[in-house]
Symmetry: D2
Subunit: 344 residues, 4 copies
């Protein structure tokens, strides 16, 4: 099976290439890159010396490769994949979009949060939100996957069992998330210079981050009563990883043990979810497609605290995209993804 | 004026020595260290080469220096300063204890959270909780200062104006705090090895951290209706800094502008508090005694979010101890402490 | 084929387990650990949740497993494997020792540099220095492999082609090496605490590091004229990686292009050596078994500069051990090791 | 005394402002910035909230402030200060240039290494290379100071006593230097993004770095026989600090003790040089104007190894500039600079 990648030289695209290179069932058809077209891929990313001999192509050249391509991954900034995806779908090619363009079902919500007109909103109905633990059946038959954002992956997986089981007071969810710097991408930005990030931590876009409506949409699908969440992202001086500390007020009297059972049951069929007895740390999932989830209960304030840990570039981006591809094409869900974290 | 330090070779003790070395109004009387007695101080901490010529003494030798000592700082683990403080106070020497032994007014609460019997509980009445922005007048005349913990300093300063003005729904406060590794001290511990901390973030002691009752006690002093908080500490791969992201549900209809005015008013006489227009980052306070506080309001969930940033070893420990000493002895409150952060 | 690991919970042992877990041709027989015996391995290293269900055994219990074990890896501090290896060899079990006990052929040199009597020096003749790029044929038939140290791996691979081709002036080699902190192991040590390493760089054991005679021994095997090297290790605030910057004065007139050809030729059969056109960085080999080598020539001082980069825990320890096992048992040399670095 | 700063918002400029803010004898006249003109300085660098109320001006506006300005610091990239310095000098204003334009006495060498025509080469004769430990007397009467580069400061101070005393074989010096990322400045560059630097180390510009001729020029001034050095810079994942590991072959038979005495004697009048008994680490000088120097001798290869440690932004830039100003204006050399490193 042949796979193309658009936006192959960003951090998410590069991570995708790592997994594709390692995947037994597929071959790379083309690697497109706006910034590095005509450069050897292994020149941009020297780790692929002796592994990947491709030269990056530009988006125009891609059309030569499409006839023999089965699926295309798009790893571009929001706003850039709408029309490309439409074009590919019209040619009968499946698409997994790692960007934000097809995640929000309501184009007005997209336009409000992203400040952009949606030019392919007829595709929104077809697009499947590619969180396998929620939508595995739909993914199997999808043509277009909207691969979830990194923060929403950690946030939704952490809170879904509570929401689904109607265990929380309305509007009580607060998600305090901490992300490594690779989440900000590889484009030049003063805020992601080494000396600006190292030895510091900050919150940003409090209550205004674009991943907020995405989390709310998916939780709403599970239970229409809990719609508004407060989401606060933070930047941490490390390359990879997201830790989402999620708070909610319990609406019912359940023990911590019960809660853990509910989570184990909810994710009993999900290879990449691990319900942990202690509180997760990002190092235990770094470099892997796992989402570790641990629970705690604070009787004094009646809060349940759910902490989830993912690798933002893997379960939060490229790994999940591969997982989606595996489901779409009937491979084992863990094909090419079956690694524990490499520490330290 | 002559100053002694017990526990001078831990991270907090060492930071204290940095400020004492730089303070115009005082002289060092002795530097005591359990682990490094008989070593030159500048051999343990080479940064003090050419500055500090003292040799560390042990606690027994301290008694020779006491007759000419005006104040003693104790920077020892909890449980270790109770009897030493009692002894010093009985000799007419003022004490600032950077540890936890005199912070909690109710010795039963101490015993519950610290699992230790309090052997000097008659001193608890006399001890003043040394957060100058709350207790400046009491500090002026105190013999024994319980210097606040690092997390409580950031947490109380962030939330006090809301509590004092009765602006929050009862029991709605959640404090999600992120600390650099120096907060864990310099003693050997597998969890603070470089490779265990670097490239990872974790939550720990959720709802069970010993700083919880300390925060609650001080907030209770401001307003008896808001007593229970949920406090979640996290460990971040950096040396210094605490960022406390504090959440509370508003009980009244106030605008963000009003809230900012309330904070400015509340801290109008406080040199080391800066109410910021944007959200603070720890790098802007690293190496300084400042506490930066920024506010945000999320209409969708009716949460006020207050973010405070301190240097855990300075405003969270040694700097605050110096500030307390300055107040006790009638020096300018910023004497020896008047530095902005050195970045990057 | 069944494999046992002694010292499985140190950083090198753990890295070994990562590769063993992923290796198609082997099964784990036992995981022994002094510190964590009777603990589940995945409790010590949570990344192995759902992967490794073994409980750590102690060294006494190991004997029950030996009858069905084909090879044992020993990852213990120096001095600890001498007698264990002898015992295992006597039972007909192959051994790969990741420690230092069998690396130096002359037990007097061992005793001088390690300050320990060698109690198994009759095994030294049999032991093969397990650097496959130098000793592949010997490794094929070895019973006991002395797996090279991390610094020697980077240093020998960087300089061997120059030495072999007699291109350097005698005694002109200086190796200035920079290592991540995992090289110091996981045992408790004040010097490897996060706050002691982060934001600092230092040289240590200049000219006295125990890897010096190991490097010299192997270079001497190639060319008896160049025996003394100066080796200076440095500690860098990162988890993994060694960069060895090697200097030597040319004894002949050769161009940079010629030198690069000599290196390519020398390593033409070596899968895990990549001669790079630019200067290597450790990030391009992190997480992989590659050694990247780049050359530079400074006409003004007649120095050739060879820079090599490895992952100290992989090509410098566990990966090389697996590579040796693969050679000993006739597997593909890259079996279970065929990954490019995962960045960032 | 009034002081202006051009290029006040780069890392070196900002560090200069930190020291100026703290200096008892001076007042800031103006802070010019190309990128941030019309922004409040404390908006660009929030650490200066409540300290610095100035708004950045552009270079044209500077002329209004010059009549009341005694000295101007220029912290611009090379090529940008030549004409500005000429103009200021012609107006009778003293200049300390932190850039490279006046460091090389021979404009042809400048043009060769920097690839730029020197348009103020008549000023080169007047310019004094501002390394106080070498040129204190000249600095006292200078109008124009060429403030040394960060690497040359560490390199020259480490090797000068050997060169001056003719203790090294000709052309045997190799300087292997390791720098934190702030040395690369604050301008946008893919190579200084957090994820590109963190968890990696690399060598760069081997034998070709522009600081090479600067080091050679100053060493040549001490001894004309030792002219060619090999200089290899490395980038280390930390904010601040340079460690220079310097190697040279001894030409005479001297003991390590003798060498240490020679260094102590050479720097006996130099407040900011500390000859250490052990090998320096950058953490002990971080945040200070000190240069720590330690020596080692390797009998086996006849190499002396001198390791120097500085803070690249302080002794390697802004601190040294202040030190030069202090000397020029007859202040104590350590005025405003008298701090030990703040660790951790």
């Amino acid at each position: 099976m042949k796979v193309g990648v658009i936006g192959s030289t960003g951090y998410a695209g590069q991570q995708l290439v790592w997994f594709l290179n390692n995947h037994k069932k597929i071959e790379i058809s083309f690697l497109a890159s706006h910034t590095f077209s005509n450069n050897k891929y292994s020149y941009v990313y020297n780790n692929y010396r002796n592994y990947i001999h491709d030269t990056c192509i530009n988006i125009q050249e891609m059309y030569d490769y499409l006839p023999s391509t089965d699926i295309v991954f798009i790893a571009l900034p929001h706003g850039k994949s709408m029309d490309i995806a439409k074009d590919l779908i019209s040619k009968g090619i499946k698409v997994i979009d790692l960007g934000a363009d097809f995640r929000l079902k309501n184009h007005k919500v997209y336009e409000e949060w992203y400040g952009l007109k949606h030019i392919s909103n007829e595709l929104l109905k077809e697009a499947v939100y590619g969180l396998p633990e929620m939508n595995r059946e739909l993914i199997k038959h999808a043509k277009l996957i909207a691969n979830p954002g990194c923060y929403p992956t950690a946030s939704i997986l952490a809170t879904a069992p509570l929401i689904k089981n109607n265990l929380l007071q309305a509007n009580s969810i607060i998600i305090d998330a901490k992300s490594g710097v690779s989440g900000a991408g590889r484009s030049l930005n003063n805020n992601t210079l080494f000396c600006e990030c190292n030895e510091s931590v900050k919150a940003y876009k409090i209550g205004k981050h674009r991943h907020t409506p995405e989390i709310e949409q998916e939780l709403f699908n599970l239970n229409e009563e809990n719609t508004n969440i407060l989401f606060t992202p933070h930047l941490i001086p490390m390359n990879r990883g997201i830790l989402a500390t999620c708070y909610g007020k319990l609406s019912k009297d359940v023990s911590l043990g019960d809660l853990q059972e509910i989570y184990k049951e909810f994710y009993s069929e999900d290879y990449f979810i691990r319900i942990t007895e202690d509180i997760p740390e990002t190092k235990w999932v770094k470099g892997s497609n796992f989402c570790d989830i641990g629970l705690s209960f604070d009787k004094r304030t009646n809060n349940v605290i759910v902490v989830s840990a993912i690798d933002n570039l893997i379960k939060g981006a490229a790994g999940q995209a591969i997982q989606n591809m595996n489901i779409m094409f009937g491979f084992d869900e863990w094909e090419g993804l079956d690694f524990p974290s490499m520490i330290p």
